[in-house]
Amino acid sequence: MKPVRLAGLTLPNPVLAASGTFGFGEEYAPWTALSRLGGIVTKSVTWDPLEGNPPPRVVETPAGLLNSIGWQNPGLAVFLREKLPRLAAYGVPIIVNVAGFSLEDYVRVAARLDDAPGVAALELNISCPNVDEGGMAFGTDPRQAGLVTAAVRRVTRLTLVVKLSPNVTDIAVMARAVAEAGADAVSLINTLVGMAMDWRTGRPIFQRVVAGLSGPAVKPVALYQVWQVARAVTLPVIGMGGITTARDALEFFAAGAAAVAVGTANFRRPDACLRVIEGLERYDAEGPQALEGEEEP
């Protein structure tokens, strides 16, 4: 497949593993050829180590998944010392997903990563429903989204991707705000806010009540938001939300995505990204009939 350019960054192919669904890569190394991916977006990394939310953290829904992981990660120092070198050994582009509870948080993580060897790009997570402060707040207010983007822009020379929240009245406004503030690309969608209820007890299943919905269930929503954003800004768009097959990826490209990311589908099969890549390769070679009657998702 052809390499794809995202602003300053060139990826070997346009299929990434989505943040939070692929750990720091190594967990999947026994099960799929990491080196063939277009890139791996890491689990969100914060300055300090974070324990994450109390269980339960995942609940399956019809064709979807609710999660309330809550940025569990070993913190930037351990990431740089242990995780990054191991992942870099696979020779796959690494996009580090950066998260924080305040503007200063985002800035200090991004600044430290700027000269870290082996980092291809940053993805700013301003759209996580699973933490109390930061996260979503930056992702639903265009002014705040612009401020944090601009502040990070000043401290990094890396390609800067900003990940948008779908939980807004008009995502085009958000995309324009981060574009004006200096983002190189946008990625979307992060998870939709949702919840799960225990019908037996009448109590919410997640301790924080709210959780993030992903998977095939959200694909129609994600496609439309990608379509809107691709028409609102000239930046490259990384599309995601429910992508499971090469056909799904083609739909996102048609909606205007320059690249795509595969998230929840990795949990069904560890080679989900690779199957999308191989499907796209067949499509490039043979056209649509290569994907007719494809094997089950």
Binding site: G23, W31, A33, E60, F267
Partner: protein, 260 residues
């Protein structure tokens, strides 16, 4: 480092048995799994052919036959995934991944196996391995009612003594299986291997701490990836932080995890 032979693959069902009114045993032709599996590890199965159910379901390895090349699971039908699985018959194929996770560490000594309900599943495989190593384990098994204890014959075939307990008194001791454990620990102190509902495991933890015997518990938590990537299956560690059931477990030393 790729282990494709244990990755997701289609395997054939070669045996099916309705063990009790709501539980089924399936046997799969999966030689690699049969050779690789350790007691306490799990198999991660697709339970359908569509996008609902979306995720795989974990099941403990229940029995292996490395010579014939088969591996079995024993499961209770509780929802859509297990209902689908229960409709599989010999000749059908199922998408199987694994074995995954960390199983039981086999300690010296005969061993008490403590099971609650279908938590007995991994203990048959464990019992077989303990026997192979010359140990003489015994099973304490509790369930809600007598009908759920049908698989007891499998342990008897292995020559393993079994004591039973039921919540409704329809078989064996009338009360929790941990009553039996309390009793036997006062006699023979041996390592404990337990699988069952959380309250049972908590009590196992208390009793074994008091008796100062090692105990390992097999935990369940809702899983997504099954390989330590999503952090979905967190269970609180004693002393703070979380362990991952799929990757650090499902079997843990009882004192390492919060069973509260």
């Amino acid at each position: 480092m790729l282990s494709p032979s244990l990755g997701p693959r289609l395997v054939s069902v070669v045996g099916r048995q309705e063990v009790s009114p709501d539980s089924v045993r399936l046997r799969f032709a999966a030689p690699e799994a049969a050779s690789a599996a350790q007691p306490g590890q799990f198999l991660h199965l697709r339970c359908g052919t569509s996008l609902d159910p979306l995720l795989r379901r974990p099941f403990s390895v229940h029995a292996v036959d490395p010579v014939v090349g088969t591996v079995s699971i024993l499961f209770r039908v509780v929802g859509a995934g297990t209902a689908w699985l229960a409709r599989r018959h010999p000749g059908d194929v199922v998408d199987l991944w694994g074995p995954l996770g960390r199983g039981f560490v086999l300690h010296p000594g005969d061993g008490w196996l403590v099971a609650g309900g279908v938590g007995v599943a991994p203990l048959l495989f464990l019992a077989a391995r303990l026997r192979e190593q010359g140990a003489a384990p015994q099973l304490l098994w509790g369930a809600r009612r007598r009908q759920e204890l049908a698989a007891v014959a499998d342990f008897e075939h292995l020559g393993i003594p079994v004591e039973l307990a039921t919540d409704d008194g329809s078989e064996g001791h009338h009360g929790p299986v941990t009553d039996l454990l309390a009793e036997v620990l006062s006699g023979r102190r041996a390592p404990v291997y337990a699988c069952g509902p959380r309250p049972m495991l908590r009590r196992v933890g208390e009793l074994t701490r008091q008796a100062a015997v090692t105990a390992q518990v097999s935990l369940e938590e809702r899983m997504a990836c099954g390989v330590g990537a999503c952090q979905g299956c967190a269970c609180p560690r004693r002393g703070g932080g979380y362990a991952l059931v799929c990757h650090d477990g499902p079997v843990f030393p009882a004192e390492e995890v919060e069973l509260g």
